[in-house]
Symmetry: none
Subunit: 225 residues, 4 copies
DNA sequence: AATGAATGAGGATTCATTCAT
DNA sequence: TATGAATGAATCCTCATTCAT
């Protein structure tokens, strides 16, 4: 069964999306290593070789998936942060970030792949484009943060974005343990580190934001003292 | 080449250490996937099969490696925290944690494997033992933290340990990018997220600790207000 | 060395035959366990992985080999049995079966693998198809037998086919001993069970057919008595 | 836990029996390939190495098991056949053989291993002893058969023993299909060859014996004709 | 552009057997 | 004799990727 050829740009983009959709579907249900390109192909209704016309490697495919997830996250967060110009409480910011993040439930799992797997089998140009995207959007959102958290000094928005990133990465992994472990964690005494993503993330991020604020207050009081 | 048989308990422990040493050596120079059991064996001066007498799977071997690294980390930190009984500043705590962590340069790389790879091919008992170790030592160090940071409420020591763990995990990954990416990050504009582990970790942890303190102060001032 | 791609159905069938031929060649010279898939591949002039495109497992490959051998046996026997419509003597039938069987010298060795090895690593569908083939052809040949041996009651043709099958299986094994044993059997007093396949098979089958006839005669004489 | 050493002959024989018992136990529940020497050892309460003191190879161990099973079979059959001196009907003989055979339910499974596996990894001497045992007992029982079936010419007792052997071998395999197949055989139309051992064996053997008788009658009638 | 046949490197484990203790 | 640590050969199959059609 030969698919119609996608000659026009928008047809190609459409087909790309079909593949990405299939990959995401599979990723929701199974770990990365269990997802073979044959599986992605058959789920896409395409041949194996066709996948590699649209994505140079399996890792590139998932890197794009990660990018799309990140994009939605950035858009959601940016929108929430730019609704008004008024300052926001740390709590409010934390909560917005958390909401934006959980709109992409698979994003954190993708992110743990990002540094350990995906970027390891991708060519320079693809990596460059991804990193440019990441830098651009991170910087933009950082500016919003600085606007809504007036105590942030210039540059601290970026710092906060870094910490959000890192927190999501770390908590994402801890909150998604191996099947064997998932079972074990029911036992009393092992409850440590067995935490749902959302609350842990919010608590930690909240502390972080308040810490940044405290640092600023502190240095201010010294200056003005 | 037949090795002298390790019949006594201490001989077996010694041989175990030889294997662990070889594995660590290799891990310093290459990614986990590139380390074959054949490599570990030949570096240990043992036959391939012998490795599997001491460790049921490749993953178990590296899980033990992670545990040993963690043990050293906990010991170093515990010792630093129990040197005196006086309160410590957030900065001081942060710095001790960072020092203890960097005494085990490969620990963070091992930790990223922990949740995504190692615990996925290990039997229940092995996973259980590891988690018990983790729970025990984390709890113990949490108590020290509560002693040296008097503003911490009971239970907040554990919370802080969780955050340390998560921060190390996340920053460890971000700070150790793929070779292609490492090169790219030289370029201006992409410097984002290109940060050495130590300073990033300390800044973030510091903010976190100050945040916890601020939360406490805040709730106190409300109560007493 | 990349082979020309077999896109057309007949090209694929051709390649399948190349693999089967290579496997049969190897099987003539060495025991099943000694035949590695690598060997089959290199003998086929194909890559290792290619074998598994055509056959899901090594056992499936040899199951197909067995089926092809059986097919030739059935065809030869059916043809011999349908040459005329006249009754045949037990001796004549026995001899036809023996001839058809010895046209496939490796068939009996393959058959001993069938129940003990091949069907143990084959999926349901493959096993089903093989058994359907076996049932269909066995039933058909059974009908021929009933035609040429008029004393056979309905259903006894199938019974006879079962006995032929079982005899070929058993004698095939006894007549093909291990190398060490082959040597020993030269010694006097151990000649027991050291028998070439053909004559043993014919003698036994002959007795069997005559026994069936005798049973019929016997029950007839009782009825008419 | 070091076992007491077996210094006396009878202690050694006892230990041998412990091992054989363990192996038989395991063989009842699992296929030959699934039985590792480690399993046999632990089930025997001995160390792996100890097994190899008593049996040179895994195959020798199972060859001895086969021999013991055969011995019991011969003894049971011999006893039944020598109870009186009167002639027996084919039916009676068939039934005695079948009873003796089914007293050793695992014997037929062991026998299929005999020619295809066991004798392939055993030294000359072991093979020789086994074959001598087989020849001796087969010959002895053959004599009993000739006594109870007076129509048998000299030498035909041995012929019959061969056929019994071969029938047990073949039917044993057909009656013990792979798990996948066992399921399939429930389906209608595939019932062919799906037969319990006992009845199939008796029907076939009966026909065989009657065939031998018929042959004799036939040649007699010619001679006297 | 689409296909899917062909590639072939890749690799952890198993396990019978040996032999130092 | 008993032990069990050490050996190391042995191997099927997977799967991302290529490329002839």
């Amino acid at each position: 069964m030969v698919q119609r050829r996608a000659r026009q740009v928008h047809q190609k983009e459409e087909r790309r999306q079909v593949i990405l959709g299939a990959a995401l579907d599979l990723f929701e249900r199974s770990p990365f290593q269990a997802i073979t390109t044959a599986l992605v192909a058959s789920k896409s209704g395409l041949a194996k070789g066709t996948i590699f016309i649209y994505f140079k490697t399996k890792e590139e495919l998932f890197l794009v998936l990660a990018e799309e997830g990140l994009l939605k996250f950035f858009e959601a967060l940016d929108e929430a942060l730019s609704e008004s110009k008024d300052p926001l409480s740390p709590n409010a910011v934390t909560s917005q970030v958390s909401i934006a993040l959980q709109g992409q439930p698979h994003l954190t799992r993708l992110m743990s792949l990002l540094y350990t797997v995906l970027e390891h089998n991708v060519d320079r140009l693809t990596a460059l484009r991804f990193r440019e995207f990441l830098a651009t959007r991170t910087t933009r959102t950082a500016r919003y943060l600085e606007q809504r958290l007036p105590f942030l000094a210039p540059g601290q928005g970026l710092e906060l974005m870094f910490q959000i990133h890192v927190l999501a990465l770390g908590i994402g992994q801890v909150a998604d343990p191996a099947p064997v472990v998932k079972e074990l964690l029911q036992a009393p005494g092992l409850y440590i580190f067995d935490t749902p993503f959302g609350p842990s993330f919010e608590r930690s991020l909240n502390a972080l934001v308040m810490g940044l604020q405290a640092q600023v207050d502190h240095s201010n009081s010294i200056e003005s003292g």
